[in-house]
Symmetry: C2
Subunit: 207 residues, 2 copies
């Protein structure tokens, strides 16, 4: 598959489609349509058909998409039909909430190490995996030893860039950043931001 030919923006929508399909699977549904998916997601059915056509023929004209099949295909395309170990830095309220997040289950990710600088937190256990918080000085070595590719930053803004540098130096190639600051990474590393302001500002236009 010629990866370079598929725009980032298309890849960016696949997890949203996968999320909608997961809900349809949970509802026990068998068949859906680009129209139904579009109505649920606020995306045009033409856009959905066009996006999916990059990866082959998933639906039949007039009969729609087989939900389980499309769900499995998208999981394979996004490489979340396996389990990625995630290193989480920041064990404050936000870090705790992320470690406890029920939504990771079955979606391809498991937080297997948690780091903080706060001596009162180090050694305490938290999250769904009941992981003992480690000193952030062990971050690089842990990433290398466990060959971790995915990191989450849930630190205050002023520590985010330093943490990102340690992550990248140790081999992490995908960072989810909750800190309210843009981080700089080499071009072979991906960063996604979780920013409630962007979510809120997407809605005020319509108020």
């Amino acid at each position: 598959m010629a990866k370079r030919s598929i725009p980032d923006i298309v890849i960016g929508r696949l997890p949203v489609y996968l999320r909608a399909l997961s809900f349809l699977v949970a509802e026990g549904r068998q068949i859906t349509s680009s129209q139904e998916l579009g109505d649920r997601l606020g995306i045009s059915s033409a856009q959905i058909r066009k996006d999916l056509s990059h990866f082959g023929e998933f639906g039949k004209q007039g009969t729609g998409y087989e939900i389980n099949f499309l769900h499995d295909q998208l999981r394979q395309i996004l490489k979340v039909d396996r389990m990625w170990e995630v290193a989480l830095v920041g064990a404050g309220n936000l870090g705790k909430a992320i470690a406890d997040y029920a939504g990771f289950a079955g979606k391809g990710f498991v937080i297997t190490s948690i780091f903080d600088t706060d001596g009162t937190k180090i050694g305490t256990r938290m999250g769904i995996e009941n992981v003992a918080v480690m000193d952030v000085s062990a971050l690089g070595q842990t990433i290398r030893d466990r060959e971790i590719s995915v990191g989450i930053i849930a630190t205050p803004a002023e520590h985010a860039q330093g943490v990102a540098r340690t992550m990248v130096d140790a081999g992490i190639r995908a960072i989810l950043n909750y800190a309210p600051i843009t981080i700089t990474v080499p071009s072979n590393v991906r960063v996604q931001y979780i920013d409630p302001v962007v979510g809120l500002q997407r809605m005020t236009y319509y108020l």
Copy 2:
């Protein structure tokens, strides 16, 4: 301005542009280009020019965009040149982290009421505004009394739909949902999801 003519997907990118412009403002920069913005955001410069052209002429051929002007214009378009009161439901680790989030400052939002069902939390003060947590039974009346339009849900999944219903019945028209579940609202209400899984799955494709 004919609002209907501007696709949701374009509106959805404006907060991302605004965020990048805010960083440029903070850096003391005066002029930028669609090329520079595109490089920072991983979006093509042509896309940025096309998106902004929906709202008028912001840049001059060859001289680029005046950062402060474009920043102010986008704030007006997105209606975040004012302060929106936000009602937050859920005062657990996630709710506390949201209430403490430093990134809301100057971005158009202030959390002025916080609700929970847990009696041990009610009455305690939290967040940047040092707000006393209220019983969730006061949610509807508070929204009506203060004419609040924006809500954030940070409850467990099983409570999210009920909270959304109370919010909508009381007049909220924009909901940011952190609970790992899709909520159903009338078509005149906007919902945005904060889902770390979507952010992570946007990156694994490239690993």
